[in-house]
Subunit: 313 residues, 2 copies
């Protein structure tokens, strides 16, 4: 695949593995869609399917999964702590390779239109796909959950959906569709049990408080290890990469006399973020992905027309 | 390709692009063989074709290229400074992924046998494929070049080939076939024009003089930039990687009061060497290639049977 969109639908079912498997199968029933991972959370009774697809099939895959969720999940019977509005609760489109955020916004809008037209589920757009500024933030859209929205959707104009009529689907509720940047979840552990110190470091490095752009950070305790952690989200790794985040945390911690123990990636990371870290620390003057043996092999396969591109849809 | 052998034949033609193109085409005429790069050197009148293939077709691809070289290159007409024994001068097999050095030795022996049987070109084995200790080192095998070997091959028993009779092919000469580890060529530039200092750093870091294992190093001047360089070969990057080499050079240079300007990779580098550098400097506690988005996509493609493995031979 030369052009890749990642889509990460969240579903309100995390206890019945057969339902989760059926949702993943619905995604892969669309040509070119590849499930990269499935995370189920029985406590929250939620699951997250991460899949990749070319832009021309990603909407089809997403809509098939939303349709299957509407068949298999009855939100009126659903119990779980996590706020949610629908059987297929959130469907974000994420640009990964050769695709712009603008294209992902267009894909989100197309998916939203089809989810209403074909399934009768009202749709709210969030983040980059939001049509109203107060809907950019997912937490704001979802506040009060299904239970509150059921009371308000046809009464309060500000809660009307962006696509469809102001009435919930009888079993599947509503669906929040959006476009957002690729996000790297990255934690750095510090050799101290001082939570206040971790929070101070987090404040110093995060964009909101004048630190690095596209970096969110919070301080946490890791009880099991007796140390603290600066837990970060990199929302634009091209601007603030793993290496900048790591170095900033190390610098701030050192100012406070504390050492970095190590770091960890949560979920998936694009190869480019790893490569850029190596490039930075090795002061590589001529780095290019074209120097990497495996990339040359992939390029040769594409050239000979035997790679995934040739076999794909 | 789950199992990859790299083969890097060197040919005694670097001036006629049509000949070089024909040699690369001969390689790719074998199923599953992929040319990753072609380097031609008009001064030395030599060219190097780097290709990758699964173990079951790499010998076929190599033998086809050697056969084509015997048709197109007349060594008796060849002029060039570089020592060489044949039209296809050196043919090393290099384990890259899922293949052992022992298997590459077996592939080299099979290729050598076929080069004699099918083409009538006598063969010498070198490095890991050597049958005599004095032939491990390529420079020793090739000393005096074609011109000296022509005088000695049927006179001096110690110059008899490992496969075939002691007579050169009338046009193609002889061929040196071997197995060797993957090699990363890696240079670190220092902020000084003091060549003696670069040589001192090189001595301190290289394995031969008690430094890092699997590391060869020499000091050079970079006239164009007015600085010096520690030019290295990493012959076992799993043991001594880019990051260890870089850190060792930096440490030794700092002892002598000199700063590292930057570094560069020459030729190709395996992704794992880049990843391990990032892992080291970021102190990543949980790194695995499985965390990388692109690797997940490749794994999903393989699982769905649409990847290169499925389409390949």
């Amino acid at each position: 695949m030369d052009r890749i969109v990642e889509c990460v639908p969240n579903f309100s079912e995390g206890r019945d593995p057969s339902v989760v498997a059926a949702l993943a199968a619905a995604v892969e029933s669309a040509a070119g869609a590849l499930v990269l991972g499935v995370h189920t959370d029985p406590d929250h009774n939620r699951s997250v399917v991460t899949f990749a697809a070319p832009p021309d099939t990603v909407v089809e895959a997403a809509v098939r999964a939303v349709a299957r969720a509407a068949e298999l999940i009855d939100l009126t019977e659903h119990r779980g702590e996590h706020p949610r509005l629908g059987a297929a609760d959130v469907v974000p489109f994420v640009p990964v390779r050769g695709v712009t955020m603008g294209e992902c916004v267009a894909l989100a809008r197309e998916a939203g239109r089809r989810i209403w037209d074909e399934l009768g589920i009202p749709v709210y757009f969030y983040e980059a796909a939001a049509l109203r500024p107060e809907r950019r933030n997912l937490a704001d859209v979802r506040r009060g959950g299904y239970e509150l929205l059921r009371e308000e959707i046809d009464v309060k104009p500000e809660r009307a959906p962006d696509v469809g009529e102001p009435r919930l689907h009888p079993r599947a509720g509503a669906c929040v569709v959006g476009a957002r940047p690729l996000l790297i979840a990255y934690n750095v552990n510090l050799k101290t049990n001082d939570l206040a110190l971790a929070r101070r470091v987090a404040r110093a490095v995060r964009g909101r408080d004048g630190g690095l752009p596209e970096l969110k950070a919070l301080g946490f305790e890791l009880h099991s290890r007796g140390v603290v952690q600066v837990s970060m989200n990199l929302t634009g790794y091209e601007r603030t990469g793993l290496h900048q985040a790591f170095e900033a945390v190390r610098r701030e911690a050192e100012k406070l006399g504390v050492e970095v123990l190590g770091s960890e990636i949560v979920g998936l990371v694009p190869q480019a973020a790893i490569d850029r870290a190596a490039e930075h620390f090795l002061k590589l003057e001529n780095y290019s992905p074209d120097l990497v043996l495996e990339n040359r092999i992939a390029a040769a396969l594409r050239r000979k027309g035997r790679g995934p591109e040739a076999a794909g849809p």
